[in-house]
């Protein structure tokens, strides 16, 4: 019995999407190299951080395999339950979590700091794919219902307050609504309404520092050193990288601790300073291949849930990547979102590997199905 299940796992692993896994591993290893370099400055803990991140990588791979064996079908079936549970955890996070940098978003469990808002991304994607395939957002009512599913966790993380995560949830959900076939006029109307409300949100809904970050983005001359100081430093780091970069461990900006949080939020600046434009292109190619593989895995599936699911996963990785890279060259406002796979951080890496496990599970199911069809024909 046991050997049978082991051989089943082996079979699954044989069907793995190798290009996707390859891309991810290269990205994470590259990230570890950058973390080592970023931490080696006056932080003086590059080695320590790199070792920790490597351990998280192993843990992530393990999680990927476990989730893959559990299978996307099982988790999608339990999506309502998982979603409900996550909402409860989010609801209680402010009471359980000690304040870190003014935002309550970490819950310490057995010595680990665990971030419920990361986990909530997974359950939101699961929930949306199940809900939107059951009630396609083709009519106005079902479209609104889909928005409702998104709104609850968004409001809960805003209470923490964690505006960065809320933004990610919204973008993920909009992408999934698009993928689920929502009429373009609804989506356009929604974005238009959002844009119209934006001034009010900026005036009344944001905290002073958040408002400043946005205003700085709109008008960099307003207060670039106050809120935009990080951006100047990051732009100098990226810009001084040039075509070939300064080489591994040669970056000055990160070494001299000019960049705030060089190993997390500003990891791209470190990477870009040391590996230059060539490195950036390579990095973007890796992400592009990853998006193609993720969406490809869903596109081949016959299950509409899976198609919507992969859209959510791709949107998640995309929005954080776009924001993180855009921020480091002043194209986007500073929000403090980590760059997927590269930034230092266990919770974030682990939850990414969990969703990738689900994508793999979808991929493997198609592959098996196809090979059976192939064998039959």
């Amino acid at each position: 019995m046991e050997s049978q299940s082991i051989s089943l796992i082996k079979e699954d692993i044989a069907f793995l999407d190798r290009p996707m896994i390859g891309c991810v591993l290269v990205l994470v290893l590259w990230g570890i190299v950058c973390i080592y370099s970023a931490g080696a400055g006056s932080l003086g803990q590059g080695g320590e951080l790199a070792v920790k991140q490597t351990l998280w990588l192993f843990l992530g791979c393990l999680a990927l395999i476990v989730v893959m064996i559990a299978g996307h079908n099982r988790l999608l079936d339990a999506a309502y339950f998982i979603y409900g549970l996550t909402l409860l955890i989010l609801l209680f996070t402010p009471f359980l979590a000690p304040k870190v940098k003014g935002a309550q978003s970490w819950i310490p469990i057995a010595g680990f700091r665990f971030q419920p808002s990361e986990l909530a991304k997974i359950s939101l994607i699961l929930m949306m794919s199940k809900f939107l395939s059951r009630y396609p957002p083709l009519t106005f009512r079902t479209f609104l219902a889909g928005l409702g599913v998104m709104a609850v966790p968004v409001l809960l993380v805003l209470l923490q307050p964690d505006a960065g995560s809320a933004l990610v949830y919204v973008v993920i959900s909009l992408g999934m609504l698009l993928a689920a076939g929502a009429p373009l006029r609804y989506l356009g109307g929604l974005i238009g309404a959002g844009a119209a409300f934006l001034p009010f949100v900026i005036l009344f809904g944001l905290r002073e520092y958040q408002r400043m970050r946005l205003l700085v983005f709109i008008d960099p001359m307003r207060d670039p050193l106050g809120a935009g100081y990080n951006v100047i430093q990051s732009r100098i780091a990226v810009g001084s990288g040039g075509f070939w970069g300064k080489g591994f461990m040669m970056g000055m900006q990160s070494k001299l601790r000019f960049l705030p949080e060089p190993h997390t939020d500003f990891i791209f600046s470190v990477c870009s300073e040391e590996f230059g434009f060539v490195g950036d292109v390579l990095l973007l190619i890796l992400f592009a291949v990853l998006f193609c593989r993720i969406i490809g895995a869903g596109a081949r599936s016959r299950d509409p849930r899976c198609r919507i699911f992969v859209a959510g996963v791709a949107m998640w990785i995309w929005v954080q990547m776009f924001e993180s890279i855009g921020m480091s060259i002043g194209l986007m406002p500073v929000t403090g979102l980590p760059l997927p796979f590269l930034s230092y951080g266990g919770s974030a890496l682990l939850s990414l590997f969990i969703v990738l496990g689900l994508v793999e599970s979808i991929y493997i199911e198609n592959n098996k199905f196809r090979s059976v069809i192939h064998a039959l024909s």
């Binding site: 076939g181 990226v238 870009s272 060259i329």
Partner: protein
């Protein structure tokens, strides 16, 4: 269904092309920044024309409860410069000669050291000479040889008008150390920043610190300012108003002047500390301005340890002051009642050992009232034996002995209430009845800070509520009700009144206010006994509690009790005392004030 499947397939394709398209956009941005170098900052940094200056923010000021300034900022000047402008030894030599000419003894190697320590990036400003006065600076700047690339910058420096009087409360600020930089990596500190090192300056660092200002300027080839690119003003830190009353604090300091020890005074209902004196003390002003290693060692390695705040970090046996705690817990456990009487014959034999009463001739029959009044040891030996160590420790935990009081100062000691397990662990010895006997008069394996002793008496005075001592309303916490029986508490209060009105602590009652309290004489293995007195006043409606611990002060009744009496009388006659009354007349009004303050901080 096939339509929707087609739709989904189409939508996924749209989505993927959007994602890939957006990446081309990023690529264009990166090209602009890295290859085309259109970015203003990158260009200037490349041509060595960008300079970034950081202004330290004025720190929030600290006042006592009446607005007396305790920590203020003074303007001084620093000479600033950029590493890229000081890259040759000749430039340094020239600068050094100018400095020496004006009486500032800084050699080239001094300057090199300073540069090495602060250098971060070529365009990042460094402080070359700190702490100059206005005349010094004007003198220097007027010198024809003064390097043009360098410039003066006004800097806020901390001074403490009360000096040694409140140094143990306020602490001091100094330049951030390497370790602190690492520990505070997330809070945006840079080398050269000031940080609270001790006391209130350290515990409220977050509020006091403010936000540093920044300026980006463009300079010409010789390092002179062409234009300001961007600037962001420094934001002053938030001012703190302490509960400390400088009048009382000063008196406490003077009372302690010729002794080693601590004197604390606090409001029994809120835990607001009015005085927290520790002797010997130190002057925090030179520390804030930067002292030489030698001076630092002179203070830090002084054998009488002036930098230790004895009120919160000194741990002493509570001695007979522990008897009030013994009485209330024994009454609550129904081990004794108001009529329980033990005969004191001058000593008690327990397991072949004789434990003496301080009065060798004995007190005769004693009940709880008279035993407190006379501080009869034998009575409490009996009480302790009847209670047993487990119940004693249970009550100790309830009064949070052996735990931090949570006062808003760094370096607090929790003290010790050690039971059988602790003794086993520490000495590999089992617990003897004799240990319990010692325990019941506050000797042996029990150690408390003066603040903890005051806190226990505050709870006895205020009807059984354990307050959180604090120096700033931001740290106010609602007192915890210990659920003590009012009649039993009243009995202990009565006993403590007797101590002063007709017992061992009569010297505390000679200042015109009714005091209730307890003396103590703590055995000291290293020399003469420590003297203790803790009391509250007015005895009939308690407002303030004060505790004195005088190291090697012999008997509590002679040295410590008049100090507490004088302090309590001063607080009750002091105008601030009246203010305080208004503040806490209705329960919860202080809480409200506290909320307002914390709101203001968000």
């Amino acid at each position: 269904m096939p339509e929707i499947r087609d739709l989904l397939e189409k939508r996924l394709k749209i989505l993927l092309s959007c994602l890939l398209g957006s990446m081309l956009f990023l690529l264009a941005g990166l090209y602009y920044c890295q290859i085309y170098q259109g970015d203003k900052y990158v260009r200037l940094a490349y041509n060595n024309r960008l300079r970034l200056i950081r202004f330290t923010a004025p720190r929030g000021e600290i006042f006592d409860r009446n607005g007396v300034p305790l920590a203020v900022n003074e303007t001084t000047f620093s000479i600033m410069g950029y590493p890229m402008d000081l890259n040759t030894p000749e430039k340094l030599e020239k600068f050094s000669t100018v400095l020496i000419r004006h009486g500032i003894p800084m050699t080239v190697s001094n300057l090199e050291q300073i540069i090495k320590k602060q250098r971060q990036a070529p365009y990042r400003v460094m402080r070359l000479v700190p702490n100059l006065t206005m005349p010094q600076m004007a003198d220097l700047a007027a010198d024809a040889d003064f390097p043009l690339e360098l410039f003066p910058l006004s800097v806020w420096r901390r001074t403490y008008p009360a000096g040694a009087m409140a140094a143990n409360v306020l602490g001091y600020v100094a330049e951030i150390s390497e370790e602190e930089l690492k520990a505070h990596a997330e809070n945006g500190y840079l080398g050269g920043d000031l940080i609270g090192k001790a006391g209130i300056e350290r515990s409220y660092e977050k509020f006091l610190r403010g936000e540093a200002g920044e300026e980006a300027i463009e300079v010409d080839a010789r390092g002179r300012r062409v234009r300001t690119l961007d600037s962001h003003p420094a934001i002053k830190g938030e001012d703190l108003h302490l509960t400390l009353d400088m009048g009382v604090q000063k008196q406490a300091g003077e009372l302690l002047k010729n002794y080693r020890g601590a004197l604390v005074a606090m409001d029994v209902r809120t835990g607001a500390i009015l005085a927290l004196a520790s002797s010997p003390t130190y002057d925090n002003n030179p520390l804030a301005w930067g002292v030489s290693g030698q001076e630092w060692r002179r203070i830090a390695e002084n054998p009488s340890r002036p930098m230790m705040n004895r009120a919160i970090s000194g741990i002493y046996p509570p001695a007979s002051t522990f008897k009030a705690f013994m009485s209330i817990s024994a009454l609550e456990e129904d081990v004794i009642t108001s009529s329980t009487t033990f005969n004191c014959a001058g000593a008690l034999r327990v397991a072949n050992r004789s434990f003496r009463c301080w009065r060798h001739s004995g007190h005769g029959p004693e009940n709880v009232l008279t035993a407190l009044q006379h501080s009869c040891d034998v009575f409490f030996y009996q009480v302790g034996l009847r209670m047993g160590i487990e119940r004693l420790i249970k009550w100790g935990r309830r009064f949070q002995l052996g735990q931090l009081t949570g006062v808003d100062l760094p370096g607090e000691q929790p003290g010790v209430i050690a039971g059988p397990e602790w003794k086993q662990r520490r000495f590999r010895e089992s617990w003897y009845q004799g240990d319990t006997v010692n325990y019941s008069i506050g000797q042996g394996y029990i150690l408390m800070t003066p603040l903890q002793i005051a806190r226990v008496y505050a709870a006895i005075a205020n009807g059984g509520k354990l307050v959180t001592p604090h120096l700033c309303a931001l740290s106010y916490q609602k007192p915890r009700d210990l659920h003590l029986t009012p009649e039993k508490l009243a009995l202990v209060q009565k006993g403590l009144e007797y101590v002063v009105s007709r017992g061992t602590g009569s010297r505390a009652g000679r200042f015109g206010v009714t005091v209730a309290g307890k003396t103590g004489t703590a055995q000291n293995a290293h020399g003469p006994d420590h003297a203790l007195f803790v009391g509250y006043a007015p005895a009939e409606a308690p407002r303030y509690v004060a505790a004195a611990v005088i190291e090697a002060g012999e008997h509590g009744s002679s040295v410590a009790s008049p100090m507490v009496g004088a302090l309590l009388a001063n607080m009750l006659s002091h105008p601030a005392g009246q203010d305080q009354e208004k503040m806490v007349t209705e329960d919860g009004s202080t809480t409200k004030q506290n909320e307002d303050v914390s709101k203001a901080h968000h």
